[in-house]
């Protein structure tokens, strides 16, 4: 174990995997000398050279398509996007090509491809550079979707993603990169996909959150504790596959559900979780499930507006109190 930031945890796993398997390589914008704008590939080119730590032109669709082709032809590419918002200029390659190749070609292809990068609020990047994209990629079958909320989770899930023979969309959060935590340095340390992590046990209300909102949900849980509400905080870790069992069992225990994410509330992944829990545990529910997410406006620039558009700790506390009728 060693203490390191979320960004360095990611970098170290990429390096370990590149040492382990020469077919693993990474390409993306500004990842070589600059080391990525958040430092997730800092100095990797010095060890692995510029063929395997490959700067790309600003051609997201082109290099994601090239990643798919390379994966079909025996490599294990990691494609870094500077902002996950940029998936939008490469949507055909991701949704029509990457996600569908294995299935529509009769299961004959393996696609060991990781598309990773950061997203979210926190740096005043405004509407086109602060979005939460993960919900979109849950909708189309064929992609796995991972969302680590701590340095340790980032390391364990990323190694699993790189070794998976399926395409993985790997969502990091820009406001988590500087967070420090204990990370298992074992080059075989992996966290399984489809296994949620109960970040805090509780008995009165289940709060499901991902990425930055795991932290905020934990803060809310502390406040709730002070007023006598015991909140259980669950991080699904991967949205595809989704660990329904852990969430449903938790709600069977607490009888109450709040889902909170930074993605827009309308048709966000929280709606899917709320529906799933309603279907599976309806008679255990003591209150309607509540969803918190960004308002239905593009994310505004001004900090006070950005805060107003996204759920705050106080909103999570309020929602938990509401479902507990307190």
């Amino acid at each position: 174990m060693s203490k390191k930031t979320y960004a360095i945890a990611i970098r170290d796993v990429i390096a370990q995997e590149m040492r382990r398997d020469e077919n693993v390589f990474i390409m993306g914008e500004d990842i070589e000398i600059l080391g990525g704008i958040f430092g997730c590939t800092r100095d990797l080119y010095k060890e692995f050279g510029t063929e395997r730590v490959r700067n790309t032109p600003i051609s997201e669709a082109g290099f994601i398509g090239a990643g798919l082709g390379a994966a079909c032809a025996g490599m294990r590419p990691i494609v870094e996007l500077m902002y996950m918002d940029f998936t939008l200029v490469a949507m055909d390659q991701i949704i029509n090509q990457v996600a569908k190749t294995r299935y529509i070609f009769g299961g004959r292809a393996k696609i060991p491809l990781v598309i990773r990068g950061q997203q979210g609020i926190g740096r005043g990047n405004a509407a086109t550079h602060s979005q939460s994209m993960e919900t979109i990629f849950m909708h189309f079958p064929g992609l796995k979707v991972a969302c680590p909320s701590t340095p340790q989770d980032a390391a364990g899930l990323l190694r699993t993603a790189i070794r998976d023979d399926n395409p993985v969309m790997f969502f990091e959060h820009k406001a988590l990169y500087a967070d420090k935590g204990e990370v298992n340095d074992d080059p075989e340390f992996m966290l399984p996909f489809g296994k949620a992590d109960i970040k805090r046990e509780g008995t009165d209300v289940t709060i499901v959150a991902n990425l930055l909102y795991v932290k905020r949900a934990l803060e809310a849980a502390k406040e709730l504790e002070s007023i006598g509400i015991s909140a259980e905080v669950i991080d699904p870790m991967t949205l595809v596959p989704f660990d329904k069992e852990t969430v449903v069992n938790s709600v069977k225990k607490t009888g109450r559900l709040v889902v909170v994410h930074e993605a827009h509330r309308n048709a966000g992944w929280g709606a899917e979780v709320a529906a799933m829990v309603t279907e599976e545990a309806f008679r255990y529910l003591d209150a309607p499930p509540l969803r918190l997410g960004a308002l239905a406006c593009p994310l505004p620039f001004a900090l006070n507006l950005e805060n107003a558009a996204t759920p705050q700790v106080a909103d999570i506390v309020q929602a938990a109190r509401q479902v507990c009728y307190r």
């Binding site: 490599m75 009769g106 004959r108």
Partner: protein, 320 residues
């Protein structure tokens, strides 16, 4: 110069493609085959000639009009026909159909129903070959319409920057569905677009086997020598509509007939007779193709439908 063995292969392949597609038309008209079906009758020389220079380990990416590429790259006609009929025995277990047929075992990374969608995939396959120090090349087939998609330009730029062994083969048949090239494409010869990406670009008669072969072999040599990509534009014409039900108000019967005069199979047959093939030899090749196609149709007609119980298999790869 094309060896006798390869010449026979090209001629046989063109007949296979033509015969296969003629049967597709007939099956479609008798409601035994459905869906979006795009035919390449009249364009067979390009796929047949290009792929005669490739091994099964080389890669191709193809298009919505991809039967020819698939067959030329080595696909079995029976599995291909079964796929077009949505049968369990098809290359993709009936999940892909005409527009999404692939055969990874012969290096065919797939037809691609999104115009231009396969071009960067070929660049990536070529990148893998280069990084793994293999000698395989990748060929991306696409139409004139694809050269107006952004992805074409991104892919050519990447390929040139990275000097990967890929050859871009544009089949310019003059129309994007109903829209003629003059209404959609800012240049007369698509090959000039290569200049922007610092690679050679050449335009050839896409109905002339020898012209295609000469241009392709030069590109292949360049790719294998590590000198990077080439763009080859093959001017050709599709005899039939964009799809099987196309009423074709956008072109004249005279235009279509004038291109039928330039039939690539007939032209190459005449060339081969001049080069010493006998009429019997050619007839034998065309009969062989005819027989294979008939067997493929029988196989496909008699194959079972895919099992609905397996509909969720293969969305993801799972360790056994």
């Amino acid at each position: 110069m094309i060896s006798k063995e390869r010449a026979s292969r090209i001629y046989l392949t063109m007949h296979r493609i033509r015969g296969f597609e003629e049967q597709v038309v007939s099956l479609f008209e008798s409601n035994k085959l459905r869906g979006s079906v795009h035919l390449c009758i009249g364009q067979e020389a390009i796929a047949a000639t290009v792929c005669s220079n490739l091994t099964e380990k080389d890669y191709i990416t193809s298009t919505h009009r991809g039967h020819g590429h698939c067959i030329a790259k080595g696909a079995r006609l029976d599995y291909a026909m079964a796929e077009l009929m949505g049968k369990a025995t098809g290359y993709c277990k009936g999940r892909g159909g005409s527009m999404h047929i692939a055969d990874f075992e012969t290096g065919n990374l797939g037809a691609n129903a999104i115009v231009g969608g396969g071009i960067p995939i070929a660049v990536g396959a070529a990148l893998a070959s280069k990084m793994q120090k293999r000698k395989e090349v990748a060929v991306s087939f696409f139409g004139d319409g694809a050269s107006n998609e952004g992805i074409f330009h991104e892919a050519l730029n990447l390929a040139s920057l990275w000097k990967v062994p890929v050859i871009f083969v544009c089949e310019n048949n003059g129309y994007g569905i109903s829209v003629p090239a003059w209404q959609s494409t800012s240049v007369e010869d698509i090959s000039v677009r290569a200049v922007s990406y610092n690679m050679p670009g050449v335009t050839v008669d896409g109905n002339d086997v020898e012209a295609i072969d000469e241009a392709f072999r030069a590109a292949l040599e360049r790719a294998r020598a590590g000198e990077g990509p080439t763009l080859i534009e093959c001017k050709t014409y599709r005899w039939l509509g964009h799809w099987t039900g196309d009423p074709q108000p956008y072109r004249t019967r005279e235009e279509i007939e004038s291109w039928k005069e330039k039939c690539p199979i007939k032209r190459y047959g005449e060339k081969l007779l001049e080069q010493g093939f006998t009429a019997e030899e050619l007839e034998q090749l065309s009969q062989q193709a005819k027989k294979e196609v008939e067997e493929a149709v029988d196989f496909a007609l008699n194959s079972p439908l895919p099992d609905e119980g397996k509909i969720l298999e293969d969305v993801f790869y799972e360790e056994a």
